[in-house]
């Protein structure tokens, strides 16, 4: 689904027209500027605070420090070591990467079958999976936790990997199937006529052509799992294995509100999603749009 870069009105032609348009647009500019400020101030304020020494945070406002320029990396140092955010970062990675690759693999396989293999009840099963997309995690928490405990899966990451895979599958299958069916029929037919098995078609034809869609879902799932709190709270029982979302909350309860630590912690938590977002923005937006609009 391409978003056309079409402007909603005729572009200004002469310089005179441009000037008039810009001036008559002043309310729009002011409005948008105000909105942009409201959107940026919260994050910027916290960012600046994370670089300020502890006593200064209590005594002067963060915007005054923009002129004082007394910044330090000490908070980050503290938070990475004492508050264990460093290990939590590694934990977050350990949780997120398999929780992305597993559902991606299973969903791609299933989506291929729903697109290009004919089998009985295909559409019914697909509809059921689409229905599962909105089931709240709460409906599965307790039974899952009990089963995981029974099989010893709650000690390490096995439990949370399985949980995230299970709940990521419906969306993944939905997104990927919607993409796979747009692939050219002739290509697949030709491969079939050549005697290729579905496995071959899947690996050699469909997957290479589907990199944007696979990337979209992978990024979406990655961010979703990285940012998750509830599943981690329940399925990661071992405190040594806590991801960043849990650790940073711990920062709150044990130290009260120590903003010098909390702000640095929050930013460490945000670095990865922001980096992924900036680098792969297009895929992320594409994934969102295709998952919701179609």
């Amino acid at each position: 689904m391409a978003t056309a870069e079409v402007s909603v009105e005729r572009p200004a032609a002469t310089t005179g027209e441009k000037a008039v348009r810009m001036i008559s647009r002043t309310p729009i500019h002011v409005g948008l500027l105000l909105i942009a400020v409201i959107w940026l101030v919260p994050t910027v304020g916290l960012a600046v605070t994370s670089f300020r020494p502890r006593d200064e945070i209590q005594s002067s406002s963060w915007w005054s420090s923009l002129t004082d320029f007394n910044f330090t990396l000490h908070n980050y140092d503290l938070v990475l070591t004492n508050a264990k955010m460093g290990t939590a970062f590694v934990s977050s990675l350990m949780i997120t990467i398999p929780s992305t690759l597993l559902p991606l693999t299973l969903a791609a396989m299933a989506a291929y079958a729903f697109s290009w293999i004919r089998f009985p009840f295909r559409d019914t099963i697909f509809l059921l999976i689409v229905a599962l997309m909105v089931v709240p995690i709460q409906m599965a928490l307790v039974p899952l936790l009990q089963r995981f405990r029974d099989f010893g899966l709650a000690d390490w990451y096995w439990g949370i990997w399985l949980a995230h895979t299970a709940f990521g599958l419906p969306l993944g299958i939905f997104l990927l199937r919607n993409f796979f069916i747009t692939l050219p029929r002739d290509l697949i037919e030709a491969a079939k006529v050549d005697g290729a098995s579905h496995a071959r078609i899947f690996l050699k034809v469909v997957l290479p052509l589907s990199v944007p869609a696979l990337a979209s879902f992978a990024i979406f799932q990655f961010l979703w799992v990285w940012n998750d709190l509830l599943m981690a709270l329940i399925f990661v029982q071992n405190s040594d294995l806590w991801p960043m979302t849990i650790r940073i909350n711990q920062l709150q309860s044990t130290y009260g509100i120590e903003w010098h630590l909390l702000s640095a912690g929050a930013f460490l938590l945000m670095i990865v999603p922001l980096a992924v977002f900036f680098a792969l923005q297009r895929y992320f937006v594409q994934g969102l749009l295709s998952g919701s609009v179609k």
Partner: protein
């Protein structure tokens, strides 16, 4: 392999049936098998299990102690002041809080998203504005909670909002410490995080509207407002419903931001149903009661699910 059969997503095999056709079923099993197994075992089976659990009481180790029929549900709706309190006006409780979210969070996110989509299209820095608004979508609700806890801090030296307020001479307000404002504070923080989604969807939809129709209306003398109200808005009704569905599902599943910013407090003022489920199950050890709350969540989501399915089906017919 000569044949007149046309296998594929839409075709029906005509003429001779190939042995390949039967082989397809086995291959299909291989492809969907793992996913279906995972879904059946880790989503469907626990779902049924939880429904069953809601008819029981449990101990601290989440083991069933006795069966109580519909008692959990009865208590939930009639005897649990934290969940639903109809004896005061206006009504209070976690369920009522979700209702506040449904009304305010959904409408404000949509309105703001639409506003920004419509305005930003007319300026040259459109992509920057949109990026700024969209960025909060990437960060976790946990981070959103912390960022806004900072903004809402009662100390004017720390909390940006109270700094603005005291600059105007008024007293600082304890935004997340007061039961009467805490929910609105939370709602606005999450609106900040979610408007980007509404904006992106609606902006894309706006740009998909045919230029000619708009030009024709303009030459016919229609004002910008007319064009907006009579041409653009009706054509946006599908994307708007898509965004609305996404926002509503968010409301029902709301947990992280409450847990991190207020822990349901002050008292129980900012609790929502997903929080109630967590609290009852994992803090109070009442997994059966928590299961009943989870079932209520599911029941609230089912109408949305049906709406989604119906929309998906009709799109297949049309598209």
């Amino acid at each position: 392999m000569s044949s007149t059969a046309v296998p594929g997503p839409v075709g029906r095999p005509r003429g001779r049936r190939l042995p390949f056709y039967k082989r397809e079923n086995w291959q299909a099993l291989l492809f969907i098998g793992p996913a279906v197994l995972v879904l059946a075992g880790l989503v469907l089976y626990p779902l049924i299990n939880t429904i069953v659990l809601s008819f029981a009481n449990t101990n601290g180790r989440l083991e069933i102690t006795r069966w109580v029929g519909f008692d959990n549900y009865k208590t939930l709706f009639t005897d649990d002041k934290d969940f639903l309190n109809l004896e005061v006006f206006p009504p209070e409780g976690a369920l009522i809080n979700n209702l506040k979210w449904v009304v305010l969070y959904t409408s404000i996110s949509l309105a703001l998203g639409l506003l920004i989509a419509v305005l930003s299209v007319r300026v040259f820095y459109e992509s920057y504005i949109k990026a700024v608004i969209f960025i909060p979508m990437a960060i976790s609700a946990t981070a959103v909670a912390i960022i806004w806890k900072f903004v809402y801090d009662p100390d004017p030296n720390i909390g940006s909002l109270n700094a603005v307020i005291s600059a105007f001479g008024a007293d600082p307000i304890s935004w997340y410490g007061r039961a009467d404002v805490v929910n609105y504070a939370l709602i606005f923080a999450y609106v900040w995080a979610s408007t980007g989604f509404a904006m992106v969807v609606l902006s894309a939809a706006l740009k998909g509207i045919s230029q000619e129709v708009i030009e024709a209306a303009r030459t016919d003398g229609a004002s910008e407002w007319d064009i907006f109200r009579r041409i653009q808005l009706p054509l946006l009704s599908l994307p708007i419903s898509v965004v609305a569905v996404w926002l509503l599902i968010n409301v029902i599943k709301l947990f992280d931001i409450i847990y991190v910013m207020t822990g349901g407090g002050p008292g129980n003022a900012s609790e929502v149903i997903a929080f109630t489920m967590y609290d009852e199950t994992f803090q109070n050890g009442e997994a059966g009661y928590g299961a009943a709350v989870a079932v209520v969540m599911l029941l609230l989501i089912v109408p949305i699910m049906l709406f989604n399915i119906r929309r998906f089906r009709s799109e297949r017919v049309v598209g």
